[in-house]
Symmetry: C2
Subunit: 366 residues, 2 copies
C-alpha cells in the first residue's frame, strides 16, 4: 500500500533524505526556503505518504491508542463515549484501535497483549455500564478507566464515571420541587451483578427525601427487571396501592423502565403528568424524547466522559492517579413532571422545621 519512500522524494528533489524529513516534519528552520519548496513539490509530485509504521518504530511513539470495551454492540451508550474519545483523538492526530471483548476474560487478555504489541501510546478500558473492574484484569500501568472504577485496593488508574448519586438526588429534587411528597423509586432487581449505579441513585433519592423532611417509605421502593416489562409490573404494583398511599410521582431507574410505567399508567386511564409524574434516567436516544409525553430524565454524560478519558490518556489533562472523577448527570426537562394533583393531601411529610419550608417554597419549573 505504501509504495513511494522518503528516498524517492529525496532523489526527485535532489537532496538527502535528512532534508526531506526535516522539511516535511517542520523541524528546524535552518533549511532554506527554496529547498523547502522544492522538497514539498517533489513530495507532492511523487505522491509521497510517510509510513507511520517506520516512524513509530523509530520514535517509539505511534500516535495510536487502544480502546478496549466490554460491549459495543449491545448498548445504545457506546456510541457517545466512542464519539467523545474519537473527537479528541482526532483533534490530536491519534488513531484509535477499537477492541470489543464481549466481557470475555480470555479475549480481553489477548486484546491487551495485541494492543501492547502495537505499541499504542495509551490504553483506555471502557465499560458500557458503570461498574468495577475486577482486580484480576491485567491492565498496563497508566491505562485510563472509562465508565468503570478500579476494584478496592487497586491503584494508579485514572478513572471517570457518572455521578449517579448526585443524579439520583437531582431526579428526586426535581420531583420534590414540583411539590411531590409521595415519591416512589422503581429500582432494578438485577441480583447477581446489581449495577453500582442502582445503589448510588437510590442513595441520592433517599438523601433528598430525608433532607426535604419527607419520610422514606419502603412501600414506595419497588423493584422490577430492567426493561419495559419490569417497569410496567413495578408501576402496576404502585398503582394498586390504596389511594392515600399511592405515589404521585415515580423516579425510575432508567428510561426503559419508565416507558413501562407509562404503559401501566395509561392502561388505567391516568394521565402524565396531571395524575402522576415520571422521571427517568439515561436520556436514552430515540426513547426518552419520543415518549408521549416526552420523558423528563437524567442524562448520562457519555460524550464528555469519552472526551475526558481520551484527554487523560493523551496527557492533555491531568487525571489524578487515584481519585475517581465523577461527572455530573444533568436533568433534562421535558413534559412528564408536573405538580401533584390538587386533591391529594400531603400526609407523610414530617411536621418538622425549615426543611419542609424550604422544599415547599421551591417552585416547579414551568
Amino acid at each position: 500500500m505504501a509504495r513511494v519512500r522518503i528516498s524517492d522524494v529525496a532523489a526527485a528533489a535532489g537532496v538527502s533524505v535528512t532534508t526531506v524529513s526535516l522539511v516535511l516534519n517542520d523541524v528546524e528552520s535552518r533549511i532554506s526556503q527554496e529547498t523547502r519548496d522544492r522538497v514539498r513539490a517533489a513530495a507532492a509530485a511523487v505522491g509521497y505518504a510517510p509510513s507511520a509504521l517506520a516512524r513509530g518504530l523509530r520514535q517509539q511513539r505511534t500516535k495510536t491508542v487502544g480502546l478496549i470495551s466490554d460491549q459495543i454492540a449491545t448498548t445504545p451508550f457506546a456510541g457517545r463515549m466512542l464519539a467523545g474519545a474519537q473527537d479528541v483523538a482526532r483533534a490530536n492526530e491519534h488513531l484509535v484501535f477499537l477492541v470489543d471483548t464481549g466481557s470475555d476474560a480470555a479475549v480481553e487478555d489477548a486484546a491487551i497483549r495485541a494492543l501492547t504489541a502495537q505499541q499504542v501510546d495509551a490504553l483506555i478500558y471502557a465499560a458500557m455500564w458503570h461498574r468495577i473492574v475486577p482486580a484480576d484484569v491485567k491492565l498496563p500501568a497508566d491505562t485510563v478507566l472509562l465508565d468503570c472504577r478500579p476494584a478496592d485496593g487497586v491503584t494508579g488508574f485514572p478513572s471517570v464515571v457518572p455521578d449517579d448519586r448526585a443524579g439520583g438526588a437531582a431526579a428526586t429534587r426535581e420531583l420534590v420541587e414540583a411539590g411531590h411528597t409521595r415519591i416512589a423509586y422503581i429500582d432494578t432487581d438485577e441480583d447477581p451483578g446489581r449495577p453500582i449505579a442502582a445503589d448510588l441513585r437510590l442513595e441520592g433519592y433517599r438523601e433528598v427525601l430525608a433532607a426535604s423532611g419527607i419520610v422514606v417509605d419502603d412501600e414506595l421502593h419497588v423493584h422490577g427487571e430492567t426493561s419495559h416489562r419490569g417497569g410496567r409490573g413495578a408501576a402496576e404494583r404502585l398503582l394498586d396501592l390504596p389511594s392515600e398511599r399511592r405515589p404521585t410521582a415515580i423516579f425510575c431507574f432508567n428510561d426503559r423502565m419508565a416507558t413501562g410505567a407509562y404503559t401501566a399508567i395509561h392502561a388505567r386511564g391516568l394521565r402524565i403528568p396531571e395524575d402522576i409524574s415520571i422521571i427517568g434516567y439515561d436520556d436514552q436516544q430515540f426513547i426518552a424524547a419520543e415518549q408521549d409525553p416526552p420523558l423528563t430524565t437524567v442524562a448520562l454524560p457519555h460524550y464528555e466522559m469519552g472526551r475526558w478519558a481520551m484527554e487523560v490518556a493523551l496527557g492533555i489533562r491531568e487525571g489524578g492517579e487515584d481519585a475517581v472523577h465523577q461527572m455530573e448527570c444533568p436533568v433534562v426537562r421535558r413534559d412528564s413532571v408536573g405538580p401533584p394533583p390538587a386533591h391529594v393531601a400531603k400526609p407523610n411529610r414530617r411536621r418538622t422545621s425549615q426543611h419542609t419550608e424550604r422544599s415547599l417554597s421551591a417552585t416547579p419549573d414551568r
Copy 2:
C-alpha cells in the same frame, strides 16, 4: 511500552535471533524440540512481547484494518455492524482502527490518508444508513463498502447492503397474508437526501400489492418526518379517512415512525392488532420489542453485513468486484399483526384471476 526485544530472548536462551523468530512463529520444524522449549521458556521468563510495528514494517503486512464510518455515535445500528466486523477480525487476529468522520469530507480524507500511512491491510468504508458513496470520495482500491454502494460508474469496490426492496415486499406480504387488502405505507418525507431504502421499500410494497391483485391506492401512501412525531401525524391522517377507505394495516418506513402510529391509534381508543395491524422496519433495539403490543417488524442484517464486509476485506470471502451484495432482511414476528376486523369489507381488490386467490388462500401465521 515494548521494552524487551527478540535479541534479549536469544541471549537468554543462548541461541540466535533467527532461532527465536523461527520458534515463536512456528515456522519450519527443523529446530530441535529441545531448543524450542528452551526458547519458549526464555521468552516467557524475560516477558517478551514481539513488536507488531517492527514485524509489520518488515513484512509489509500489518494485520490491521481500517474501518471508516460516517456516524457511529448517532445511530443505534452502528454497534451491530461493528460487532460483526470485529468478530471476524478477531477470529483472524486482526486489529481494527475505527475512525468516525461525521460525514465531513475533509475528515474523511484525512482519515483515509492516516489509515494508509498505517499501512492497514484493508479498508472498510461504512455508512450508517444504506446510501450511495459520492464518486469524489478517494477510496484506495480494494476498499470494501458496508451499507453503502458505489456511485454509478464507479467500479471495483465490493459492497454489501440490505435488500430493502425484498424487505419491503416481505413486510407487505406479511400483511397481505394476514388477510389485509387496505394496506397503507407511512413513508419518510426526507427530501434532500431521501434514503435510498425508502424507495426500495416502497417498490417492494407496490410489487406485492400488485402481485396480490390489490390496487395500489395513492391515498394510502402518506409521508411524515422520520420520527415518532412524523409517524404519529401520518397515522392520524390515515385514521381520519372515512371508514370504508381507512386502512386495516399500516407498513411503516421504520420502527420509530411505527411507535408514532401506535400513539395515534391508541389515542383513538383503537387496538393493535385487533382494529389495525402495524409492521415496522429496522427491528430497533429497545424499541420494537418493547412496544405494547410488541412490534412485528423487518430486521436489518447489520451484524451479518459487518461480518461479510470484514470477510471480504480479509480475503476470506470472495466479494465479487462489482456486484452489490444484497443481504436478506427477515421479518421478525411479534404481536402487532393480525387479521383485519371481521366487519370490514374487501373492496379495492381487483376482480381478476389467480393472483387474488393465491393471496386469499394464504394463511396468517398465528
